[in-house]
């Protein structure tokens, strides 16, 4: 990165910054609207302009969204559903990452006849539209006795996450020389030993990618959540949808927006904190330049 074809003309550079900042504003606009709205009183929302800053800050909508907003007959806010999402996302992310890592390890380092075809088959699975699988999946979950439960949701997310995690890990592990496996074989280590002692410790960047990707996908999922959850297992996105669509008298936009931000906070946080590694790992793992 020492020397790039860098534009040096000052006028041009100003223009450059102008464009970059303009786009930044464009990307920030919806978040800005949500954030400011969530901090305004209803009165101010009705009278003021959408894009104006709050005249008077209020955090009441946040409190309400978290613990007392109503969905249907319940007025518990997002809190219980938030924990549902956590209970669902954490194991689902962990399992799909582990399975993807093992799969990727096999595809990259233990090739066998037909492995490529199978890998292609798994990849194609990444592209299947989820609406298609709702009904047969419901049937299968029923058969397996985990319909309407958090384990059921975890199962679904794991199944449809494997494709991507396998892809990430496989593309990452192919860059590790095969000689490493060979050396370990000569040393007498077996399949799992090699994986746990040698590959897993090497995998931090790609684990980061896999975890971020899966976490965003699973946390943000609505379709599976609404279809496969029972009364006690609805994830936060479903609750958010219920709250936003529940209006008593006047629509509490500020509460809706606060709820939306709360529901999005974990993924947002993950991107802001780990986004750098995400880009880096993604180029290592999924894109070949």
């Amino acid at each position: 990165m020492t020397s790039k074809a860098v534009t040096s003309n000052t006028m041009l550079r100003w223009g450059l910054y102008a464009v970059l900042i303009l786009f930044a504003l464009f990307y920030l606009m919806p978040l800005f609207v949500m954030l400011t709205t969530s901090l305004k009183s209803l009165e101010e929302i009705r009278t003021g302009s959408l894009l104006s800053l709050p005249r008077e800050l209020t955090f009441a909508p946040w409190a309400e969204a978290w613990s007392s907003a109503c969905a249907g007959t319940q007025c518990q806010g997002l809190r219980p559903f938030f924990w549902n999402s956590v209970l669902m996302a954490v194991p689902a992310v962990a399992i799909s990452t582990i399975v993807g890592a093992l799969n990727g390890y096999v595809f990259a380092q233990w090739r066998f006849r037909g492995a490529n075809l199978f890998f292609a088959a798994i990849l194609f699975g990444c592209f299947i539209p989820f609406q298609v699988v709702l009904l047969p999946m419901a049937q299968m979950l029923g058969l397996m006795g985990i319909a309407g439960t958090i384990p059921g949701l975890i199962f679904v997310h794991v199944i449809y996450g494997i494709g991507f995690t396998t892809l990430f890990f496989r593309n990452y592990y192919v860059t590790i020389p095969q000689e490493l496996v060979r050396a370990a074989k000569v040393d007498g280590a077996g399949f799992f030993r090699i994986f746990f002692a040698i590959f897993l410790p090497l995998s931090l960047p790609i684990i980061t990618v896999s975890v971020i990707w899966q976490f965003t996908q699973i946390w943000n999922d609505f379709l599976f959540g609404v279809s496969f959850s029972g009364p006690g297992s609805q994830p936060v996105t479903v609750a958010l949808n219920n709250i936003v669509n529940s209006t008593t008298g006047v629509k509490a936009y500020n509460v809706d927006m606060a709820a939306a931000i709360i529901a999005a906070a974990p993924t947002l946080l993950v991107y802001v904190i780990a986004g750098k590694y995400f880009i880096r790992g993604l180029t290592a793992g999924s894109v070949k330049g």
Binding site: V99, F119, A120, A121
Partner: protein, 290 residues
Amino acid sequence: MEWLERNVPKLVLAPSFVAILVFVYGFIAWTAWISLTRSRLMPRYEFEGIGQYERLFAAPRWDVAMDNLFIFGGLFIVISMVIGLMLAIFLDQRIRAEGVLRTVYLYPMALSLIVTGTAWKWILNPGLGIQATVRSWGFENFTFDWLIRPEMAIYTIVLAAVWQASGFVMALFLAGLRSVDTEIIRAAQVDGIPTHRIYSAIIIPTMAPIFLSAFIVLAHLAIKAFDLVIALTNGGPGYATDLPATYMYAMAFSRGDLGQAAASAMVMMMVIFAIVVPYLYSELRPRHDK
């Protein structure tokens, strides 16, 4: 024991193999079968023939959905790539605060449209959002009312979709630019090639694989686009912004016309197949490295 040792790799893959076989290909087969029945509210398994496909292709709404897919998909892919590439090139000019800008461009990927849908609706709503705001600044004739014009509404979907995905494309391209050998750029500088030509004639052509990856990611997003439409227009005005995914969903779940939904799903699947298979082929073909 020996056998076990030799077959561990296959055994490790076995659960995934079964899962994919059943939960992807089994379900596709199931859908294919349903598309050949007269299933309505719930699946029925008596074979009927290709009537559902005939109905599908006769439905004006499906035509609109497919047309929209091509308009939306085409614009979304092209614009996202153009913006992504442009931002990547700009960011590549040793920009201060690059890290912050990158995060800002990328964060929409973290958000679901379930979350941002309302905000977008407001922003696009002429009476509340941009139009109203600009008018309140004194530009009385400013109009931005695509959301409510049937022939323009699909472009608002494009706008929101570009908002969500272009940052990601930017990241891909930026990584690509960063991986270009700096010696090539130096060679070009010594050769007297101006900066814009260095990009257009030398760097960008080397990034063909990244274009392909970006195209696939975007195409897949476009075909799957669902939340976006539901959150922004719910298919309206009329069904002007319907896409195959929303058509399928509507048929399956609000119309109780499962057979029809399955037929549309199969057509979608074929479109995906046509795009993804060449990609998979290029991805898995043995590479002859430089």
